[in-house]
């Protein structure tokens, strides 16, 4: 607590797109209540506090830290450790911190592939001398430095212990407000909890549902779905069946299937594996061969089942590589498609 009796709050971004910061600001006038109720000690996006101010705090002096973004660089990791040490409660805010999100799909590739394509092979690059960005460059006036980035994107809880998770890409404002209110009233759930609903997106989705029997998948551009019926029943991939509710089923609301940005439903460690079994259970098939035939109509299962959760999944990079029989995918070669059964 601060001397004025207000709880101390820190907000931080690591490797992220900025959407989480926009989502915090999207609580609109409530942001004034937050500023009133808390003593905000660190928020590099908004306030003029520095890392050394955080370093100067006693351990556990910050009451709550909302941490968004994945861990991609040593700076990200350093800040995760620092803020963990200084904070009583650490919240993984948003999909990147919680699961790795879309930037976590980078775990399908590696740094060398990125350097090769972006600085050499891309159709617009003109680089006759084969220059690549370097961590240290001598220029006539002195030396310039660049940070190195890692091969693997990690989630916050792969680096430090996390107390709570606030899902979503980005989280909806109502859950940010709910989290803030729970903190203020000291009504936080048991550590390790996800702040949100414990049902699936289907429970929030107003579309009519019947018994699901899918004979094939359609890609979104292939059919114009009935606006009132369950999208999955119509053969459109929808991750809502195994995804935590809380968004208000926004994507199905505009005829687009859920992609799972709110992460797995309560109690599930590997959202992709859960999604695979949920999808398999609605396939209209009697034999493994028939199931395979239906799944063949769904391209890139790894990219669908692990769209937001790859970095956090049980699939480690080595397993991914082994599953595909080679060390890493080459640029321009098709990125290996994962056999979904491996995840089970």
């Amino acid at each position: 607590m601060a001397e004025n009796g207000k709880p101390k709050l820190a907000l931080y971004w690591a490797a992220s797109c900025g959407g989480c910061e926009i989502s915090v600001l999207a609580i609109h006038e409530k942001i004034l209540d937050v500023a009133e109720a808390f003593d905000i000690v660190f928020w590099p996006c908004v306030l003029d506090f520095k890392v050394k101010d955080v370093e100067a705090l006693a351990d556990n002096e910050i009451d709550v830290c909302l941490f968004n973004g994945a861990i991609r660089t040593d700076e990200n990791e350093h800040m995760a450790h620092l803020l963990r040490r200084k904070s009583k409660v650490m919240v993984a805010y948003g999909s990147c911190a919680m699961e790795g999100c879309i930037p976590g799909l980078a775990n399908f590739a590696d740094r060398e592939q990125m350097m090769q394509f972006i600085y050499h092979d891309s159709p617009s690059t003109a680089n006759p001398d084969g220059i690549e960005p370097q961590t240290r460059t001598e220029v006539p006036e002195g030396e310039l430095e660049l940070p190195a980035f890692w091969n693997t994107v990690r989630t916050l809880d792969q680096v430090v212990p996390v107390d709570y998770y606030l899902p979503g890409c980005p989280p909806e404002a109502k859950w940010t407000i709910a989290a803030v209110e729970a903190i203020l009233k000291n009504e936080l759930p048991p550590p390790g909890s996800v702040i949100g609903m414990d049902v699936s997106v289907c429970d929030e989705c107003p579309r009519e549902r019947h018994e699901k029997k899918i004979k094939r998948f359609y890609r979104p551009q292939e059919i114009e779905p009935d606006p009132n019926l369950c999208l999955l029943e119509q053969g459109l991939f929808c991750a809502g069946i195994a995804t935590r509710a809380g968004c208000g089923a926004l994507c199905p609301g505009v005829n687009m299937g859920c992609r799972g940005c709110y992460g797995p439903v309560e109690g599930v460690r590997d959202g992709g594996a859960r999604l695979i079994s949920a999808i398999a259970s609605v396939i209209d098939a009697d034999t493994p061969e028939e199931i395979d035939a239906v799944l063949d109509t769904l391209p890139d299962p790894a990219g669908y089942f692990y769209r937001f959760g790859l970095a956090h999944s049980l699939l480690h990079r080595t397993r991914l590589a082994q599953a595909n029989g080679h060390k890493v995918a080459e640029p321009f070669e098709e990125i290996p498609h994962l056999d979904p059964k491996l995840a089970e």
Binding site: S16, G19, H28, E75, A126, I131, V139, N255, P299
Partner: protein, 490 residues
């Protein structure tokens, strides 16, 4: 003694832009470098994904301008699948995009760049922010700014499905039409936007143009550089954000090139430097000549000012009137004063508002026919829109099943990487003498950078309204001889 000035995010984070200024023995600026210290590699990890997922994947490049990536990706998919959206589908996308432009330009003018003028470039840093703007223009006006953003975000959600990271764009159109009730709300927002755009130009007139000190600053050499200018234009060579041909004018304002966006690799190439992860696009037919301006250097800019310079006018009446006044006041075309970009941005805001109203009152806008189902095999698709910060190009190649085999992206701010670097150097050279550095001088260097509204979220995470900076002056041994920090806007 030579010294080095580092302008770095206050939190010393990787993933944020960094400015390095080197001083010579006499304390004059020897050189300045602008570095972007992050790379995320969407071009590589998207390989193997179904192309139709790109509007929902690439919007995560940036949480500040996801709408621009969503639209460029959707257009690239139209081209990939050889399909045209029906008229209502195209108009719905444009309507969505105009609401985004109003929001985005509002944010920049009132929270980011505007405070330098509305509050003043020499005002204390603590006042050079949105709150200072509200104090200068009144609380009611401040609420009007907040409300404009809020209402247009609601429009973005109605059409795109979500207020951040929209999902409705598909190959061949949009996933859902709008209802008459929704249209009425959008029309009302558009009407307010037009009023807001006109009022914002009045604010600029009263506060900036009536202040000769500001006008002199805009016209000064420190903020002047003569480059090529790029922007999308319609069939009448009027500014267009969603569609059209890419037009490039030379530093004399003469058309240098006009090409279909799909031909971008014939006209634009990207140079690589070892000290930044962000490449430097330039005009291929002129060539990379380093960080110099003029007709012999392939450097081009792609900003609101550049778009006005590259076009022959605006497609809506009030914006056209403002466009004419702009060039009359600043001495004809092209205008090379980078600080005039703020004024140009407000003219674009007004155009977006007027065009939004045209679209919202178009009888076809509520048509249920907003999609065309593709029937041809996918091949190559290149989609381009004008993002607020520059021409944005998505280039996809797939196998016959529409699985991505090659992805190339040139994002808005990237176009301006070289001119930003030059602008910083010019401003530093004009402002720093005898090794003298103070907060006002630093702010004036940053103003050069800020006029581009660089959205490094695409490569870093700087957000509208915030760019806290720390400046360290070191001797050649690396010892700190001076230390200043400054909270760079809001």
């Amino acid at each position: 003694m030579s010294r080095r000035i580092t302008i770095d995010p206050i939190t010393r984070l990787e993933g944020h832009g960094k400015i390095e200024v080197f001083l010579d023995d006499a304390g004059e600026v020897a050189n300045a470098y602008f570095q972007v210290p992050e790379l995320r590699g969407f071009e590589v990890f998207c390989l193997g994904r179904p192309a139709e997922e790109m509007p929902r994947i690439t919007n995560r490049i940036c949480g500040v301008c996801p709408e621009a990536h969503h639209m460029a990706a959707s257009k690239a998919l139209d081209a990939l699948y050889h399909v045209e959206p029906p008229p209502a589908g195209k108009k719905l996308r444009e309507l969505f995009y105009m609401a985004f432009y109003v929001t985005d330009h509002t944010t920049h003018f009132y929270a980011l760049g505007g405070p330098d003028f509305v509050v003043g470039p020499d005002a204390p840093a603590a006042q050079r922010n949105i709150l200072g703007v509200v104090a200068a223009v009144g609380k009611e006006a401040g609420l009007r700014v907040i409300n404009t953003r809020k209402q247009n975000h609601e429009v973005i959600k109605i059409i795109g499905g979500r207020p951040i990271h929209p999902v409705a764009g598909l190959p061949g159109g949009m996933s859902k039409p709008i209802t008459e009730e929704e249209r009425q709300f959008i029309e009302e927002v558009a009407r307010q936007n037009v009023e807001f755009g006109l009022w914002s130009l009045d604010v600029f007139d009263d506060i900036v143009l009536k202040n000769t000190g500001y006008v002199d600053l805009i016209l000064s050499d420190a903020y002047t550089q003569k480059t090529y200018y790029m922007g999308l234009v319609d069939a009448n060579n009027h500014v267009n954000f969603y569609d059209g041909m890419v037009r490039v004018v030379d530093p004399d304002g003469v058309e240098f090139a006009k090409y279909a966006p799909a031909d971008y690799t014939e006209h634009v190439a990207e140079h690589v430097e070892p000290y930044s992860y962000l490449k430097y696009p330039y005009l291929k037919k002129v060539g990379w000549k380093g960080f110099v301006d003029g007709k012999d250097s392939g450097m081009y800019a792609c900003t609101p000012l550049s778009r006005l310079n590259a076009a022959d006018g605006m497609a809506t009446p009030h914006a056209q009137e403002a466009y004419e006044k702009f060039y009359e006041t600043l001495g004809g075309k092209p205008v090379h004063h980078t600080l005039a970009t703020h004024w140009a941005r407000l003219i674009e805001l007004l155009y977006a508002a007027e065009h939004m109203l045209e679209l919202a009152t178009d009888p076809e806008i509520t048509s249920p026919k907003v999609r065309t189902i593709p029937t041809e095999k996918p091949t190559v698709g290149i989609g381009t829109v004008e993002a607020p910060r520059g021409t944005l190009t998505h280039h996809y190649e797939t196998d016959e099943n529409g699985i991505l085999t090659r992805v190339n992206l040139i994002v808005g701010t990237t176009n301006n990487n070289a001119p930003i670097t030059l602008s910083i150097k010019k401003a530093a050279q004009a402002m720093i003498h005898g090794g003298e550095v103070n907060d006002g001088i630093l702010n004036k260097i940053e103003m050069a950078f800020r006029s581009y509204d660089p959205c490094l979220s695409c490569a870093t995470h700087s957000l509208p309204g915030q760019m806290p900076l720390e400046v360290i002056v070191r001797d050649p041994d690396g010892n700190i001889v001076d230390h200043r920090s400054q909270y760079l806007t809001p």
